[in-house]
Amino acid sequence: MAQRYSSFDKGGRMWLLQRVTAAFLLVVLAFHFFLLHFVHHADEVSFLMSAGRMETVSYYSLMVLFLLTATFHGVNGVYNALVNQGLTGTKRTVIKWTLVAASVVLIVQGIRTANAWAGIPLY
């Protein structure tokens, strides 16, 4: 692949992504709490109501994006915290890929759940 100049190094890109996802999560998490605790109430939850929301394309897309950004922001935050505490070398590589694997499991399971509600036969 041809080399091209970019002022971003890898660390810089992750730094920016952590902040971009933070700004997105601020809005969507507030919406999530408000909708599911104040508009609807936690003890009134039912499969059909959850399915009714998830069958809407805009809600489904927002929730999948919410899952992706929250997983990235959370897992990258954990990784940063561990590096900050002095994680280096082989341990750092092992933990990094363990966190990547955990993220993949979380995202796959989250999307399977969303699909089960939305009636998408991919779960």
């Binding site: 660390g11 902040r19 933070a22 700004a23 999560l25 601020l26 998490l29 507030a30 709490f33 605790h37 104040f38 109430h41 936690a42 003890d43 009134e44 939850v45 039912s46 499969f47 059909l48 959850s50 399915a51 899952l67 929250a70 997983t71 959370g74 897992v75 935050g77 954990v78 915290a81 505490q85 002095g86 955990a102 979380l106 399971q109 989250g110 399977r112 759940t113 089960a116 509600w117 009636g119 779960y123």
Partner: protein, 141 residues
Amino acid sequence: MSQSYNRGLIEDFSRWREFEAGMWAWIFHKFTGWVLIGYLFTHIAVLSTAIPASGAETAVLQAGNDVYTQTIVSLEGLLLVRVLEVGLLSVAVFHMLNGTRLLLVDLGVGLESQDKSFYASLILTGAITVASVPTFIAGAF
């Protein structure tokens, strides 16, 4: 090139006596972050009961007798879960307010008053949490 400094570990005995507002903000942000990512994994695990529930008959779903509805309703029926949810709200609200403070500082706004904005985050978190208690506890008794 970035440079790192050895500041010692925050766990070192009695270091907390030297902490100022910014250090407490850092500790609370880490702590609430760990709680939130832990909760995200638990949340998806519990919601996953929707996968087996989606195979249930329409009548079972309408009656709310499917495994998803039953799991959520029985969890929400426990006072302990409701109290933990209030705790989760306070943790999330603090992380969001302090995160906003960090984003603003990154953008060059409010570094001089970072201690005041940390105290404001704490007070607002307390106020929002207390104001939300009736909604979060409703129906638990």
